[in-house]
Point group: C2
Chain length 152, copies 2
DNA sequence: GATTTCTGATACCAATTTAGTATCAGTTAA
DNA sequence: TTAACTGATACTAAATTGGTATCAGAAATC
């Protein structure tokens, strides 16, 4: 079962790219190359992020996009919601009118519990946090490389 | 974002139906009527549950299906895995060979954490537990109805 | 002012997945 | 022998997914 689709995945990676460049506007081309995301697909994703207010853009040569908020204030949960809607484990859940079986449904209670848990977790993971993780990993790799060179 | 599909949903409901009838074989027809599940679709789902060993069947007139294990020993996680595979939040996760971006991927760590949480939760929710919940709800409804009658 | 580098908007597409239907063969009880 | 069942499997329409393509317009630069 695959939960996050490519749009969400690419969006998060694009936001990470943006979050790591604090200076000026970044073109879709650059992000596309950096993260190996198909250019036209990424363009559509960025436009969606702009419409949602997570990212802002500047048209024309020298233009591009940049984060509209601090990385630490952008939760993965928001990104998921933009591209895939709120996490709903079972379809009948919030569209109560559509579900004829509601009265007999015991799944509802347990599923809502887990659902809330998941949403809560994704709300805690911000782009800022991911960037910190990434930097920590990079620092560790660097140290290891240096050690290896020393032993050569 | 819809996580559980109709197959899983129907399967769980069918298992609940079966779990509540401790006696003998139950035909697909009966379950189909009871849970308002399209007959042919349910048949395919039941066959899958049989192949997976959660349910056993008896052919011929008077035949049908029944649980192969105690309801308390059938976790929703198992059912999900049969129809949708293990919960994987992001696709690249376990198919490491397919993912060219692994070295740069920070999502991996956080996502695996949440993934484990979800799998763990679904492992705790058994058909038995859902049946208990259902019975509790039914009992409550009955009490409420009685009270209402008394006040009329 | 022409050209190049960008975004905005939107239409299109193939492949896959989802949800559901249909058919036929074989088994067992009555 | 017939009716009520499951086993196996093929088929389908519609939606979703992942990706492509096009054209218009904005700003910097030559
Ligand atoms: S609320 Fe609809 S089947 Fe559960
Ligand atoms: S492991 Fe593949 S992008 Fe994360």
């Amino acid at each position: 079962m695959k939960v996050l689709n490519k749009e969400t995945d690419y969006a998060v990676r694009a936001l990470i790219s943006l979050g790591m460049k604090s200076d000026g506007w970044v073109s879709a081309k650059v992000i596309s190359d950096e993260q190996a995301i198909p250019y036209q697909f990424l363009r559509r994703i960025l436009q969606e992020l702009i419409r949602s207010g997570l990212v802002e853009s500047k048209e024309g040569a020298g233009g591009g996009v940049r984060l509209a908020k601090e990385p630490g204030l952008i939760a993965v949960a928001e990104v998921i919601e933009i591209f895939q809607g709120k996490v709903q484990l079972s379809e009948c859940m919030f569209r109560k009118q559509l579900c004829s079986n509601r009265a007999n449904c015991v799944l509802r209670h347990e599923i809502m519990r887990i659902e809330k848990m998941v949403n809560n977790e994704f709300s805690q993971v911000t782009i800022g946090k991911l960037i910190d993780d990434l930097k920590a990993v990079e620092a560790m790799n660097k140290t290891r490389q240096t050690e290896q060179q020393e032993t050569v």
